[in-house]
């Protein structure tokens, strides 16, 4: 897994590539907690290059979402590959997370 943090139109974007599993999700968690600590109002997660996610990766995002909801922050998922999306929908989390096709969609809709 690799994480790259950028900003798009002034909004934070966390782009992940590779495999999110029990080995790598602690690093993802550290980043999410930092954004929560800073009370980031909107955080976009770019999934385009994610090749794998397991339940520890999902748990990390559930924890992150809950942390952001406390202060009214928004977490938006972008460009989820089909096989990753399938996992979210099986876990009934496609209704919990806000999911968009692109960063543009996430910002303007």
């Amino acid at each position: 897994m690799k994480i790259i943090i950028t900003s798009n139109s002034g909004h934070d974007v966390l782009a992940i590539s590779g495999e999110v599993d029990m080995d790598t999700s602690p690093e993802l968690r550290t980043h999410l907690l930092e954004f929560i600590h800073k009370r980031t109002p909107l955080l976009l997660i770019d999934f385009r290059e994610v090749s794998y996610i397991d339940s520890s990766g999902i748990a990390t995002f559930v924890e992150g979402l809950k942390g952001m909801m406390v202060y009214g922050g928004k977490l938006k998922f972008v460009a989820i590959p089909e096989k990753i999306g399938e996992i979210f929908s099986f876990a009934k989390l496609d209704r919990v997370f806000e999911i968009y096709g692109s960063i543009e969609d996430a910002l303007h809709r």
Binding site: E19, D21, M22, D23, Y52, D54, S55, S56, I58, A59, T60, V62, E63, K66, K83, E86, I87, F90, A91, K92, L93, V96
Partner: protein, 145 residues
């Protein structure tokens, strides 16, 4: 091919889960499963091995565990052996999927793709989890592609 066994032993560190995933995906492919099923089986075995590290070994990364893959005529069997204390089977249940909280998904991922999920009670020390998926093979020679 029928009866073929592949076995692997790795340290109980999450760093090696990717090794197990790779083998699992290859074995599922050799069995002739389609890509979506291969992906589900890979996730399921990863979850079962993560549980060994997390629950059986309570995060101790200095142990080892083994995974044995067996391809039978009509089923694909995955057996995971650890040397941890006996699992309390009464806890072995995923969360309600509508109860949104971190955790509790692994068992669901395992059970959706494997037809049988059972701890082997005959094992004296440690745990042996046996996962079985029935195979419905149209084309025995798929792996030869």
């Amino acid at each position: 091919m029928t009866g073929d066994i592949v076995s692997v032993t790795v340290p109980s560190h999450p760093r090696y889960l990717c090794v197990i995933r790779d083998i699992t995906a290859r074995m599922a492919d050799i069995c002739g499963m389609d890509q979506a099923t291969v992906d589900q089986v890979k996730l399921a075995v990863d979850e079962a091995c993560s549980n060994v590290i997390k629950h059986a070994y309570k995060g101790d990364t200095t142990k080892t565990f083994s995974v044995i893959f067996r391809i039978r005529e009509k089923e694909f069997e995955v057996v995971i052996d650890d040397s941890g204390p006996k699992a309390d089977l009464s806890c072995l249940r995923g969360r309600d999927l509508d109860d949104i909280r971190p955790g509790g998904l692994g068992v669901h991922f395992i059970k959706r793709v494997f037809d049988s999920f059972a701890f082997d009670k005959r094992k004296r020390t440690g745990n042996r989890l046996r996962l079985i998926k029935r195979l419905d093979r149209g084309n025995e020679d798929h792996h030869n592609q």
